[in-house]
Symmetry: C14
Subunit: 67 residues, 14 copies
């Protein structure tokens, strides 16, 4: 019975990552189209924020199965 509810928890974590990274990424696309010369600043901040969410999601997924 361990693995099954953990699968739902992992699925919820991926939904969280999808909402967060998708939101950041979609606005970054828009920002690059509006200000193509600021692509460096946008890219570094985009990766920084996405990494925070990705990190939390991966910690939750790993702990769900092996915690």
């Amino acid at each position: 019975m361990t693995g099954t509810l953990a699968a739902i928890g992992a699925g919820l974590a991926v939904i969280g990552a999808g909402i967060g990274i998708g939101n950041i990424g979609s606005k970054a696309m828009e920002a690059i189209a509006r200000q193509p010369e600021a692509v460096g600043d946008i890219r570094s901040n985009m990766i920084l924020m996405a990494a925070l969410i990705e990190g939390a999601a991966l910690i939750a997924i790993i702990l769900a199965f092996f915690g």
Copy 2:
């Protein structure tokens, strides 16, 4: 009983991937239509962000069935 709840977890993970990649991809379409010459920057950042979500989704799906 293993496989069945895992299927729901995998379904939730695909919803997460759909929200995230769909959001990024849809704004990228808009960005290309607005700034066709920035297609290189948009494409590389789009794939980078989509890969982060796809990765988390696939890890969750694989672990749900074989974790």
Copy 3:
């Protein structure tokens, strides 16, 4: 009891694919109407992103029934 919850998981996966591919596709229609000459770039990126979601959805559906 295997097949039944798997059916719900597959249904959720199709909802995810519908949200994601539908979102990308709908904005691609808009983008083509706005910038008809960029149809090549839009089409290739659209298919690339849709393939990522379709792939995850099909993996989840197949594993749900035969995993």
Copy 4:
């Protein structure tokens, strides 16, 4: 007990198809009204994306009842 939960799964799959194809189709109507001469490009891309969703939905429905 097989058929009943499968019916719910199939219902969810149709919701997914409805969200996705409905979204693509509605924007395609708008795009044709805005750019009537691009109807060929819009139509071919619209059918391509709708086919991806329809395919996933039908696979899920068929497998739900006979998988």
Copy 5:
């Protein structure tokens, strides 16, 4: 016990059809009001997309009761 859960599945399928066909149809009304002379193109594409959703919904309903 067969018929009852199947009724819920059929209800969900009708919700899917309602979202999808309703969305396409409502935008088609708008498109005809904006571009009355493109009514042929709009009508044929509208019926094509609606048929895809209607087909999936009817298959799901029929299989839910007699599958």
Copy 6:
């Protein structure tokens, strides 16, 4: 126990019909107010789409109680 869950299924089907027909009908009102001389085209397409949804809803309701 037959009739009771069937009632819920029928209720869901009416929600689907309400979303779909309501959406089409409301945009048709708007379209007539914007383009009063296109009332014939709008009316015929409106009824065509509404009939598709109404048909699916009635089939689901009838099958839910007598299927």
Copy 7:
């Protein structure tokens, strides 16, 4: 046990009618305010669409209690 779940089904049907007729009616108010001389066309189409939803809702309610 008959009447009670049927009450919930009837409640859902009223929600469906409320969404649908409310949506059509509210846009009709707007349309009359924008185009007061088209009140005949708006009224006849409004009643036609509302009747489709009202019919489905009443059939579902009646069958839920006496089906």
Copy 8:
């Protein structure tokens, strides 16, 4: 056990009435503010549509408790 689930069904019916009549009524306020001289047409159509929803809601409530 009769009255209790019936209370929930009646509550759902009131939600439906609230969504529908509230939507129609709120747009009617707007319409009167925009076109004060069309208050007769707006009022008669507003009452007609609200009566359809109110009727369905009251039938559902009465049948839920005494059906």
Copy 9:
């Protein structure tokens, strides 16, 4: 066990009243601010519509506890 589920039904009825009357009332505020001299028409129609919802809500609450 009578009173408790009835409390939930009454709570749902108040949510319905809150959505409906709140929606009508909020648009009436806006309408008065836009057209202060039409305050009589707005007020009478506002009370008429609010009374329809309030009546349904009170009937549902009273019947839930004493029906």
Copy 10:
């Protein structure tokens, strides 16, 4: 067991009051900022509508605990 489900019913009633009064109150703020000299009319109608919702909410809460 009386008090506990009643607490949930009361909580739902407060959500209804919050949606309704909050909606009316927020638009009244906007209306006062737009038309400061109509503050008398706005205030009297605002209190009238809020009282209708507050009354229904309090009746539901009181009956939930002591009905």
Copy 11:
């Protein structure tokens, strides 16, 4: 078992208060920024409406634990 469901009821009441007071308060901020000289009228009406919601929420919370 008393305190626990009461905690959920109290949580729902706080959600109601948060939606209502938050909505009123946020629009009041906007109104002050738009019409700084009407701050007296805005403040008094804001507190009046917030008090109605706060009162209902506190009554529900107190009764949930000690009713």
Copy 12:
């Protein structure tokens, strides 16, 4: 069993506080950016409204665990 459902109640209360205070705070940011010289009025009203929500939330949390 005391502490666990209380934890869910407290979580719901924090969601309520987050919706309410977040809404007020976000509009206050906007208001300060639009009218920097009205920062005193905005700040005092912002804290007043936030305190009402915070108070209700803390009362609910404390009572949930120790009531």
Copy 13:
């Protein structure tokens, strides 16, 4: 059984904090971009409001596990 429901309560509290602080923070970004010279006022008020939500969230999380 203590820790597990507490985990869900803590998860809900984090959702509340995410909604609230995310809302405040996102509007603060916008406000700084619009009025860069008001960054001091925006920052101090932003931290003040975020602290109110963070405090409530941490109290709820700590009490959920050790209360």
Copy 14:
């Protein structure tokens, strides 16, 4: 049974982090595109707010598995 519900709690916490950090990050992208020279202020405030949410999420995840 410890780990499994904790996994769901952790998943909810990641959803909270995704909503919050995603919201802040997406608006920061927009803000940089609008005011590229304010990138320092935006970055420092963005990280400050994101850290508050990340902290609460990580505390909740760690306590869920090891609390």
